[in-house]
Amino acid sequence: MLKGRYGKHGGQYVPEILMNTINELEESYNYYKNDFDFNRELDTLLKEYAGRPSLLYFAKKMTEDLGGAKIYLKREDLNHTGSHKINNVLGQVLLAKKMGKKRVIAETGAGQHGVATATVAALMGLECEIFMGLEDTKRQALNVFRMELLGAKVHPVTSGTQTLKDAVNETFREWASRMEDTAYILGSVMGPHPFPMIVRDFQSVIGKEVREQILEKEGRLPDVAMACVGGGSNAMGLFYDFIGDKSVELIGCEAAGKGVDTEFHAATIAKGQLGIFHGMKSYFCQDEYGQIAPVYSISAGLDYPGIGPEHASLHDTNRAKYVPVTDAEAVAAFEYLSRTEGIIPAIESSHAVAHAMKIAPKMEKDKIIVICLSGRGDKDVAAIAKYMGVNINE
């Protein structure tokens, strides 16, 4: 039987050398996800270490200014380490520890997943090594320093395009050479089964909280739930609990970079083709021979040529809609939210904010949009300054 399928997507396309290891991971996860002590421990960590539940904030000024639907922000940026990544990492590292692993490895794009992994590894006393594209270590130098402060070793990846996809390649290569004592803490709802399932389950806390919070504040479910999508973990976390609620429109915002009609984008749903890569069948930006495309986005976190298999399936069945958002629109939204609400969002999350700015004014005032603010923008300030031509190194 084929495991881990979402429609025609998903699967376990990995070298034989890793099969025993990922089967062992699946068995352990299936055991611990129903284990009372594991769940209690994770719940305590989420509450007392990560700072959950995160706030659901009514963006009053933004709502008034846009003059349409009511806008709520799910404040994942307020989590410890500044993004939603901590939810998944606490779960996976705790699982690794239960499995007796001594060392964790992870890939990172913008550095948020790397920082979260380094943080939790420090907390739980595990050795930690992070693989990050050389190009990304330059644009996210602050996060590299943060990971090193936390005791992790950061390996700049010089192969390929030197960005996130190459960091993923390198982490798989490292895992294939040492799997007995090492867990791969995968950062998004992608990769071979069971990763898309595990990461989605650990991130689904976002949507569960949104449901409770919005019911309490508004007495009903939102009309739109939206989030940015690279691999798609914050979006999947937000969407998952609402998939059965057909009245809730799900929107993923992917990186259109300099435009989907240029070569410089990472808009997988808009421009990608069905393929098999990084352990999964899904949509990928690639050429006519299946060579994976060198994608581009101002946001290192969305700069990935694929999308998680469950998203690909939600797209196929029209349950979720995926829209491209350009760098320019994201930067404008970054500034807009900073000035309007006093919240500096991650450039990734700004893609979702940008789309809300487009659709909210056209919606009735009694409609509700929830935007997942996946992370905070501190890490992006230098990149935005550079984009705007401002020199902040005085």
């Binding site: 084929l2 495991k3 699967g11 376990q12 396309y13 990995v14 070298p15 034989e16 050398i17 890793l18 099969m19 025993n20 290891t21 192969s159 390929g160 996809k165 190459d166 390649n169 798989f172 290569r173 294939a176 050479s177 040492r178 799997m179 083709q273 069905l274 393929g275 098999i276 890569f277 990084h278 352990g279 990928f284 690639q286 006519e288 021979y289 299946g290 060579q291 994976i292």
Partner: protein
């Protein structure tokens, strides 16, 4: 019986790997013939891929060189056609699944059969997912080579029992590349495989010296050398024919 079995008819088999299009497809044709002259019993031709996750740095670099030369699947097939006019040595492709999937499973296997490819090694498809390829490999009689790793353990039975052509036994954990020392208990893995199948067992990953080749060939039916060959091509470029001939001859002698 597929033609691959011919590679194991005359004693221990030497299997050489190179990346198609490195440094050019004309040179690939020349180097294949040189290895055959030097005694190679089977040639593995790597179809370059942008993200070869099972390869170490040497073969990754060869993939980059080949792709930057404009090497494509269609051009590799054309090269195979020319090679087939000169030799009947068994030929096997090494390719990543996305290349095959995008080309189209039926199209790919049909071409393999028309152009004279005998088998295919796909590092990123495990036993569990092989089902989607089987109808096509069966239809065109192209063997999908089973890989067995030091971590396969209780999976060996399952993997070996459906093996065709030869079993590719991976010598060590990690990715392809030259290793100073191979610590895996290959002897016991090979004997586990032998207890399940009569298909020949070849060992690859990390083999570069005559001593390693000689040691391993004592219990395996063949040895596979990739990175060491690609390294010679990297070093000598267009002039690699002579050093390749010398190297392959030496290794082939060591496994007699």
């Amino acid at each position: 019986m597929s033609k691959i079995s011919n590679a194991f008819k005359n004693g221990k088999s030497f299997i050489g790997f190179l990346t198609a299009g490195d440094p050019s497809l004309e040179k690939t044709e020349e180097f294949v013939m040189e290895m055959v002259k030097a005694g190679a019993d089977l040639i593995e031709i790597g179809i370059p891929f942008s993200d070869p996750i099972a390869e170490g740095e040497v073969i990754q670099r060869a993939n980059v060189r080949a792709l930057s030369n404009g090497t494509t699947m269609d051009k590799v097939f054309e090269t195979v056609k020319r090679i087939r006019q000169k030799t009947q040595v068994p030929l096997v492709f090494l390719t990543y699944l996305n290349s095959v999937f995008t080309y189209g499973y039926d199209h790919f296997f049909r071409q393999c059969s028309e152009y004279g490819i005998d088998g295919v090694i796909i590092p990123d498809i495990p036993f569990e997912e092989k089902g989607e390829l089987m109808p096509f490999s069966d239809k065109y009689n192209i063997d999908i080579i089973s890989l067995i790793a030091p971590t396969s353990e209780e999976r060996i039975n399952k993997l070996a029992s459906c093996a065709k052509g030869f079993v590719y036994c991976v010598s060590s954990k990690g990715v392809t590349g030259v290793r100073n020392e191979i610590k895996t208990d290959l002897k016991s893995i090979v004997s586990s495989i032998r207890s399940v199948t009569k298909v020949p067992v070849a060992v690859g990953f990390g083999i570069s010296t005559p001593q390693q080749a000689s040691d391993i060939s004592k219990y395996a039916d063949g040895i596979i050398v990739g990175s060491a060959i690609v390294k010679i091509i990297e070093e000598y470029g267009n002039d690699a024919a002579k050093p390749l001939y010398d190297y392959v001859s030496e290794l082939k002698k060591s496994i007699k």
